[in-house]
């Protein structure tokens, strides 16, 4: 029991509970099922990208490019489909194309980071800018609002709904399911496969990992490959939920996702960033922004408030680290 209380997941969960109850006291709507649905929906996109971010963060370092990768891939695909009026393209094919493109873009990151031994943070800032600029300069700047029919129907696929007293219906979106499945798979991979443990190992100490006989380049290659797959899926989710592909819409929101992952314990040499922690981090940040909207607080305050929560979370984490470090 003591072990559980000491974990990072526990402290994030505690913060979530406290905030939820406090906000609920101010505005009871926050405690409703409808709001729960709204929060899960709001979490889908960042939760997906957070997985990619976590993976790269654990293995090499901060990735600033995941949104740009996902956004660029899906926009390139849709732009092609719309231009050629291929509105009947099956959903899986669109997913597939988006994923392939995203993999290529992430492997470019891998090349610079692994093959040329460059700093991940700097490389991904560069590639983020490159991908975004490439998209706007060569592919297009217009909003794509007429989506293929398969995507349109996915956009309104709900698995549960609830109607409140004033007659407004809230829905639990189908994609939440997919996200949960992805989280479970990722958890299994990180905890129960050697590949997963190799990721932790090379993230913590490359030389030690090399001495253990781990193939660093290969492990990183698969990390970026997986990150590409997740980014492709994330881009697809983004367009589906917003029902429009907007170039360069996502860039700039990376920091929120990174913050969520870091809150979940994904950063630092002693990081044992877990999937549960990441999920909680994403939920916490979605909860805050969602609740502040419901309480009609202007968005500037929201940003400031989110910043405070992130800092508090980090302070709690680091004070724990100090307690435990013996030497």
């Amino acid at each position: 029991m003591k072990r559980i209380i000491k974990t990072n997941e526990f402290s994030v969960a505690a913060i979530i509970t406290i905030i939820w109850i406090l906000f609920g006291l101010v505005n009871p709507d926050i405690l409703t099922v409808a709001n729960l649905y709204a929060i899960t929906r709001a979490s889908i996109i960042s939760a997906t990208f957070a997985l990619s971010c976590l993976l790269v963060l654990l293995a090499v370092g901060i990735d600033m490019s995941f949104y740009a990768v996902g956004c660029t891939s899906i926009y390139v695909v849709l732009n092609y489909l719309v231009k050629n009026k291929m509105f009947d393209t099956p959903l899986l094919l669109i997913f597939g194309a988006s994923i392939v493109l995203a993999i290529i873009l992430q492997l470019i990151n891998w090349f610079f980071i692994d093959r040329l031994s460059l700093q991940p943070f700097i490389v991904t800032i560069g590639s983020q800018s490159l991908y975004k600029g490439f998209l706007l300069a060569f592919i297009g700047t217009t909003y794509i609002t007429t989506l293929p029919t398969s995507m349109k129907s996915l956009a309104t696929k709900y698995i549960a709904s609830t109607t409140n007293s004033s007659g407004i219906t809230s829905n639990l979106h189908f994609l939440v399911f997919i996200v949960i499945i992805m989280y479970v798979l990722m958890h299994l991979m990180l905890s129960y496969t050697r590949f997963g443990r190799n990721i932790y190992a090379i993230g913590a100490d490359v030389i030690a990992a090399k001495r253990a006989g781990i193939n660093i380049s290969k492990t990183r290659f698969f990390v970026f490959l997986l990150a590409g797959i997740i980014c492709g899926i994330g881009g697809m989710f983004q367009v589906t939920l917003n029902r429009a592909a907007v170039p360069a819409d996502l860039v700039g929101q990376e920091l929120m996702v990174i913050a969520a992952v870091v809150l979940g314990g994904g950063m630092g040499k002693q990081a044992r960033g877990s999937i549960l922690g990441t999920a909680l981090g994403v939920i916490l940040l979605s909860l805050i922004s969602n609740s502040l909207i419901l309480m009609k607080i202007p968005s500037y305050y929201q940003q400031a408030f989110t910043g405070i929560i992130i800092l508090i979370g980090l302070v709690i984490q680091s004070s724990k680290g100090k307690e435990q470090a013996v030497d």
Partner: protein, 504 residues
Amino acid sequence: MNEIVKIQGMYKSFFGAKALDGMDFTIYEGEIHCLIGENGCGKSTMIKIISGFHPFDKGDLYINSKKFGKITPIEAMKEGIQVIYQDFSLIPNMTIAENITMYNDVYQNRMFVNRNKMRKMARATVKKVNFDIDIDKYVYELGVAQKQMVAICRAMALDAKLIIMDEPTTALTSKEVENLFKLVFKLKENGVSILFVSHKLDEVLKIADSITVMRNGKSVYNSRGDKISKEEMVYYMTGKKFSEERYSYIQADNNPLLKVKNYSLKNKFSDISFSLYRGEILGLTGLLGCGRNEVAKSLFGLIPATNGSVEINNEDIGIIKNVGHALKYNIGYVPEDRLTEGLHMEQSIADNGISRIIGSLVDKNGLLNMKKVQEKKKEILSLIYIPQLKPNNPARSLSGGNQQKVVLAKWLAAQPKIFILNSPTVGVDVGSKTEIHNIVKKLASKGVGIILISDDIPELMALCNRVLIMNEGHIINEKIIMDTSMEELSELIAINYKEVGKAI
């Protein structure tokens, strides 16, 4: 007896620099073989070749009587060779159990990790070496000695036939070293060979079945069971005869330079009183954790004492409040950990040299006088001898011994009156050690009062004229070096006064 590893005529160069130059080496089953040599003699290169980390250029490598043209780390592991590096190469964000079984998983090339099996195996291994610990703890929670135990367990989990330990005792207390040696003997009984790489010649004499001395990439001495003295080892390592002349102190002044009265710091030390005279080298020793570190730091104002007072040249200055206060009275301090406290590792060697006195090189207009800076840099670096010195290289590029010389030079430039040296030769090779000793002696003979904190008894014997022995925060004994012996000193240091009762 079977040969585990045999190396014949091995050559290896890095970018044209010869690291191994016709090395011969053999280690047999079930022996404790010590490998000694100065920094840069090729010890680590040889270890890395045996463990498959570096390929070699030319020569023969036999492992378990099989010839290898080149060997990968995984093949080396399969042959039962395990290296425990100085940094242990553990993964901090994994549990002890995960670390112990990690190599096993890698070489068996398993896809999945069976947590139950993993913990079972870890528990069995931990038991095998009598290591009492919770295997679900994370490695970053452990102390140095425990980390080392985990690394040894990791090797044992793979049924290692040869365990190579690279400077295993550097960070251990003497009690922990004892335990390590017990374990090493136990491993030997089980038929495991140990290749023990060390700087500490006393330890080598204590445990070695056979000794190989390396110099300039070659084996220059190889013993199997026959006796070799420390002086001979040093001779083979350096190719030079070093005879340490004792520092002879002649009291010139009856007034103490420094008088410490009832110095105390809560929970660390209490009632520390002593005097230091001009030209004297005063030793301060005791087991790790006895408070000697804290006394040194408090005298330099790093952690101010809570009670007591200090007199310098008969002037009562109270407690030394901070580093600035200590500097005002010309106190210098060479810290224990030069990596984090002694040098600016990324800055150039020359810049490090002037870092202490840079304030005095400023012109009236508040800017640095670059001409003066250049002159000073040259002057300071001429105080020490570093072979092939490139003043503009970062301090990181130097070996441990040479780094320590830069630390000393930096302080020499500031001309301290009182100089506190905290373990100045830990992790320093024999040649540099002698040079550092000579610098210290020269300084003392010029009238500087020196406090030397060290647990290296031969060093205390060679340099000091008096030694204070600390235990549990108190000075419990004082010895004039002329009236004592190495044996007596080490006994006095090691006595557990709690068990003996407050007899003294």
